[in-house]
């Protein structure tokens, strides 16, 4: 068994052509997952009746089951559940189910990053804003969020990296993204060049994750001045 760099370069364009699909999945899941997690965090912090315990249940389930299983449950279960209320999603593509899974998954995980970050802003500052006549919205946007962000960023960065890795299971439900392409290549070759193919895929994931990491680090530097409250310097 020897590595064939020529072959690796030859198969690269095939991967590049499906890269946009993977990036769209990451972007949509990350964005909508984050928005969902903000909603979930809000419900839990405000202790909204009925909804708050439901969110606890949802988070507990999501954190305690493998993501592969969650994807299969969404893929086979969601059409059944939605058909009960008259919504037909049988014509959805695998990609949409994949995004739905990742959004639900991240909605739970990210809220476990946001909630402690929110609680890290001491109650006194929120009271001070109240006492000065801020509306709840002004208090959140001007005082709380700017301080939540630097605390939550490292956690959110890790979650983004995990999200990127999690897209590698989408081929199970027939999405032809990077991993899907790899599987097709391997079955075409009857498995004779597995190592070359998987190594190429690994390098691509590495490159995406590396860039995502740089992106997050850039934001961390941007918000570093807020760390002054902890006595750290710029």
């Amino acid at each position: 068994m020897k590595m064939d760099f020529g072959y690796m370069i030859k198969i690269l364009p095939g991967f590049i052509s499906v890269l946009p699909l993977t990036l769209v999945v990451i972007l949509c899941s990350g964005l909508f997952g984050f928005l969902l997690s903000v909603l979930v965090t809000g419900i839990r912090i405000k202790r909204v009746k009925i909804f708050s315990p439901l969110m606890e249940l949802y988070i507990s389930f999501t954190r305690s089951t493998p993501i592969l299983l969650q994807m299969l449950l969404v893929y086979y279960g969601l059409p059944v559940v939605l058909s009960l209320i008259g919504i037909n999603i049988n014509n959805w593509s695998g990609t949409l189910f994949a995004i739905a899974t990742l959004v639900l998954h991240n909605g739970a995980f990210l809220s476990e990053i946001l909630r402690p970050a929110y609680l890290a802003v001491d109650e006194g500052q929120k009271e001070a804003a109240d006492s000065l006549g801020f509306t709840s919205f002004q208090k959140l946007t001007r005082i709380v969020f700017p301080q939540v962000l630097p605390v939550a960023l490292p956690g959110l960065g890790n979650a983004l990296i995990y999200l990127i890795q999690d897209t590698s299971i989408l081929f199970i439900i027939g999405v032809v993204d990077i991993m899907g392409t790899a599987n097709n290549l391997i079955s075409n070759d009857f498995g004779s060049r597995q190592i070359d193919v998987f190594l190429t895929v690994a390098l691509i994931y590495w490159a995406i994750s590396y860039m995502a990491d740089k992106f997050i680090k850039y934001f961390e530097r941007k918000t570093a001045r807020y760390h002054l409250e902890n006595g750290l310097t710029r």
Partner: protein
């Protein structure tokens, strides 16, 4: 100018305030004294609606609020006429001294940045911190932080400033600088409602002393009356702890 009527407040069936009536005139410096756990701070927080009283009314000369039927708009209106100085300063930690003073002027009063900056400069000057404009709270001593928070309250030009034990979290060396600032503000005609354990300070700057015990006002009057000729036995008993010097407790063998 400000009148509290029949304020009641309970926490979990434990009644903290048992019907408080209090009148404050413009320019008054009213100091609430009394033992810990008696509801002084709770009363102050009720004025600002940081605590919601179960019953009672607050009335300004042109604006009345019944605590049993409050709208969000009324709460904001109330808070924009009052300002609070907290025991733990509660500065915004991600903002510099001058940004702390500017923030509410810009967000709440919709002032221009320039106008807010000039007003903040003036108020920070007044509390003696003109050289610390760009310092973050973490870079300031407790006394300096408290003075910034006083400037933040002053900048809103409230009708009354509520001070909640403003020196209780400070070490003895820093208490003086904060008391000096409050003294100077009191003499400039700002209406003040103050909770403190600094008895000689209270005696010095107040126009009226209110002695509270067990959720009720026991006695109120000018400092000379309360400190020297109090009518109530409980007041005398409480103040006797401050008049005597420290004596070491020894157990005879």
């Amino acid at each position: 100018m400000l009148a509290l009527k029949n304020i009641h407040k309970s926490f979990n069936d434990h009644e903290i305030l048992k019907g408080i009536d209090l009148k404050i005139n413009k320019g008054d410096v009213v100091t609430i004294i009394g033992p810990s756990g008696t509801g002084k701070t709770t009363l102050l927080r009720c004025v600002n609606y940081l605590e919601k009283p179960d019953e009672g009314e607050i009335a300004f000369s042109d604006f009345q609020l019944n605590y049993q039927s409050v709208k969000r708009k009324d709460i904001l209106r109330l808070r924009r006429r009052t300002a609070m100085v907290f025991q733990q300063y509660n500065l915004f930690k991600n903002k510099t001294a001058i940004e702390n003073v500017m923030e509410a002027q810009i967000v709440v009063q919709k002032k221009s940045k320039k106008a807010a900056y000039e007003k903040s400069l003036e108020e920070l000057n007044r509390v003696g911190l003109a050289d610390k404009l760009d310092a973050y709270p973490s870079q300031l001593s407790g006394g300096q932080q408290q003075r910034v928070s006083i400037a933040r309250a002053l900048a809103m030009e409230p009708e009354i400033i509520l001070f909640d034990e403003p020196t209780s979290a400070l070490d003895p060396e820093l208490v003086g600088e904060v008391l000096n600032v409050i003294d100077q503000i009191a003499r400039s005609g700002v209406t003040i409602l103050l909770v403190t354990h600094e008895m000689s300070f209270a005696q010095n700057i107040s126009t009226k002393i209110v002695f509270m015990d067990q959720g009720k006002i026991v006695e109120e009057g000018p400092p000379s009356q309360i400190f020297n000729h109090s009518r109530e036995k409980r007041t005398k008993e409480f103040l006797s702890h401050f008049n005597s010097n420290y004596t070491k407790i020894t157990t005879a063998k």
